[in-house]
């Protein structure tokens, strides 16, 4: 059996190209993007014009049909620039368009997917509610069958891109008593849904990832035509969600990997230059230990994440591995940003240095793809064969 952990020359070239693009388009603006807390339309338009939003979609809709490893390289490099911008872009590339590409009819794909890939229509997906998030069985947004379609009632929270979205894939249940077995996805288009009771609710002011706008969507008796039901069978929504969850978890891990590396690279430079008691602080063993621990955990995370990417690409079942990878990489990232803050000492506490932004951005990664409490409970149960 061969065991090869190297990237191909082509993959390295792709990484370098994305890195260069991020260096030129995003990094010079990252402080401003964080401070303004607004969606950066100008950066978005320029970024979208390069074609990256079609990375995982079919060529006939303007996509690139790249493989999973290439996509993960992209997610890692994009998050290196700005976690907030990465959240918005990845929502568009992955979760926000996945079910439309998979279940939408040709007319829907032309109307929604093609402009989404061009960045002209912004999309999102809505899972979370006030009493459900990782616990999808608690979803209370209700879909009621009517002539020619469905009526949707409920409120969705923590919707990335929600306040600016032209379309949304909404998870709703046909019966709250059915738990996970009642869930489905529905495509809601703002233009038509606004005639009913679709509205953008409260916009959230977040600790980190601030240039990705996040908010609440209100669905008050919104009509959804039958063709906007995204699935083949009623009640299979959780199964469909599961098909994308591995990718979402590894993608989140890639973001964690990028933030951790940026934070510690930044801290390394600081530690090599900050002099205390006559020496750069990187000469002191307690500081060096932080880098050593980070390095070990970072390499482990990276290997595990790319192994998962390879397993997804190779269609090898890997639900548990992806959960482990998301958990490990995000916890590694928490360690990295926390220790980077400590290395910076008091300077970490002011906005002049980027380290506080890494710390704030990283916290956002704890929740997507399942909170660590939920993941650990599940993984522990599996391990103990309970």
């Amino acid at each position: 059996m061969s065991l090869d952990f190297s990237f191909t020359e082509e993959q390295e070239f792709f990484r370098q190209t994305v890195r260069d693009t991020v260096n030129r388009l995003i990094i010079p603006r990252v402080k401003e993007l964080d401070e303004k807390e607004e969606f950066p339309w100008d950066v978005w338009k320029e970024f979208a014009s390069l074609g990256y939003l079609g990375l995982r979609h079919q060529e006939k809709y303007g996509g690139m049909e790249t493989d999973t490893i290439t996509q993960m390289i992209f997610y890692e490099e994009l998050a290196r620039g700005s976690c907030g911008f990465a959240m918005s872009a990845i929502m568009q590339i992955l979760m926000g368009t996945y079910f439309i590409a998979r279940f939408g009819n040709e007319e829907i794909k032309q109307r929604i997917l093609v402009p989404a890939i061009k960045g002209e229509k912004i999309g999102t997906i809505c899972f979370t509610e006030d009493q459900s998030g990782s616990d999808l069985g608690g979803t209370r947004t209700l879909a009621t069958k009517v002539d020619g379609g469905w009526r949707i009632n409920g409120r969705k929270q923590w919707v990335t891109n929600g306040p600016i979205a032209e379309f949304a894939t909404v998870m709703a249940t046909v019966d709250t008593k059915l738990g996970l077995k009642g869930l489905n996805f529905y495509l809601i288009e703002k233009k038509t849904a606004q005639r009913d009771g679709f509205a953008v609710g409260q916009r959230l002011h977040k600790l980190g990832s601030r240039c990705s706008v996040t908010g609440e969507l209100v669905l008050d008796n919104v009509f959804v035509p039958d063709e906007n039901f995204l699935g083949e069978e009623v009640g299979k929504g959780v199964q469909y969600a599961g098909d994308i969850l591995n990718e979402v978890r590894v993608m989140t891990g890639m973001n964690a990997l990028a933030i951790a590396k940026e934070a510690m690279e930044d801290a390394r430079q600081y530690a090599n230059n900050r002099v205390a008691f006559g020496n750069p602080i990187s000469k002191y063993q307690l500081i060096r230990e932080k880098f050593a621990k980070f390095w070990a955990w970072y390499e482990a995370s990276r290997t595990l994440l790319y192994r998962c990417a390879w397993m997804i690409q190779s269609k090898i079942p890997c639900t548990n591995e992806c959960m482990l990878a998301k958990y490990h990489s995000t916890e590694m990232c928490m360690y990295a940003v926390e220790e980077a803050m400590r290395i910076y000492g008091g300077n970490a506490f002011c906005s002049e240095y980027p380290v506080q932004r890494f710390w704030r951005d990283a916290k956002f990664l704890l929740y997507g793809g399942g909170t660590h409490e939920v993941l650990c409970d599940y993984l522990g149960r599996i391990y103990c064969k309970d």
């Binding site: 070239f13 792709f14 190209t17 260069d20 390069l50 990256y52 790249t66 002099v275």
Partner: protein
């Protein structure tokens, strides 16, 4: 127009570079396309967009081809790598000789290159290629306006306290300076194309050159010894109070640092 662009893969400015031995450097595996070469590629692409034709990126490198892929991702049509074991340890003159051997029978209108590579900063290869080919060249241009029907180009280059406008018959070679343009960010569609592109490889025998003419054997410049940069001296604290500390600072800047 038939345009060739000479490109080079250079160590990333952030890459760690250490002196391994007297004649050998250890360079961290972080490379990118020399920025001035990207300006040259962009200039070539703009001319192609205006007049049609073809842009070919050409490099001499036994290992790295990312500069060629970069050229394709920006929009170049073809990528050619001159590679041969005997090209190891080439200097700027043997590189220019080899490149010109490839170019001499090609029907080009224009050759573009960066004003200098961002690793050795020599700025020799471009002009030397023009000399070997016997064509005119203008170094470090910041303006380019080609009249394809007249087969001439008006170029601008910066000189001390001003700019110099020149007219040059084609074919010619121009090296490109910052200010000529802003290199485009590649479209992902072209990045994918670059990842899959077949890079045409050319070896020494097909150029009619002998191993003795090129590489370390033909080089005019031999590396005698690499020396790492001197270590920064320790910070000197001025202990005197105002205004004596100002006087001391001026004295040190003048006599020790010799910067004023």
């Amino acid at each position: 127009m038939e345009i060739y662009v000479l490109v080079k893969q250079v160590p990333d400015p952030e890459a760690m570079v250490k002196v391994k031995s007297d004649t050998e450097l250890e360079i961290e595996n972080k490379y990118f396309t020399s920025y001035f070469d990207e300006i040259a590629i962009e200039a070539g692409l703009k001319l192609k967009e205006k007049f049609g034709g073809k842009v070919t990126v050409l490099t001499l490198d036994n290992r790295k081809v990312d500069a060629l892929r970069r050229g394709i991702s920006m929009g170049a049509d073809e990528a050619i790598q001159i590679t041969d074991p005997s090209l190891e340890s080439s200097d700027q003159f043997t590189i220019a000789k080899t490149l010109s051997a490839y170019l001499q029978d090609k029907p080009f209108d224009l050759i573009l290159a960066g004003r200098q590579a961002m690793d050795d900063d020599a700025g020799i290869v471009g002009p030397a290629v023009a000399e070997y080919l016997g064509i005119p060249h203008v170094h470090s241009i910041v303006g380019l306006d080609v009249n394809d029907s007249k087969k001439e180009a008006k170029v601008v280059r910066e000189v001390e306290n001003g700019k110099e406008n020149l007219t040059c018959p084609l074919p010619a070679l121009f090296t490109c300076q910052k200010g000529l343009n802003t290199p485009r960010i590649p479209l992902v569609m072209n990045v994918m194309k670059a990842m899959k592109v077949q890079i045409k490889k050319v070896d020494l025998s097909s150029l009619g050159l002998n191993p003795g003419d090129v590489g370390s054997l033909g080089a005019k410049v031999k590396v005698q010894k690499y020396l790492p940069p001197a270590k920064r001296p320790p910070v000197k604290m001025i202990k005197e109070d105002f205004p004596d500390n100002v006087k001391m600072l001026v004295k040190l800047l003048r006599e020790e640092a010799k910067v004023i």
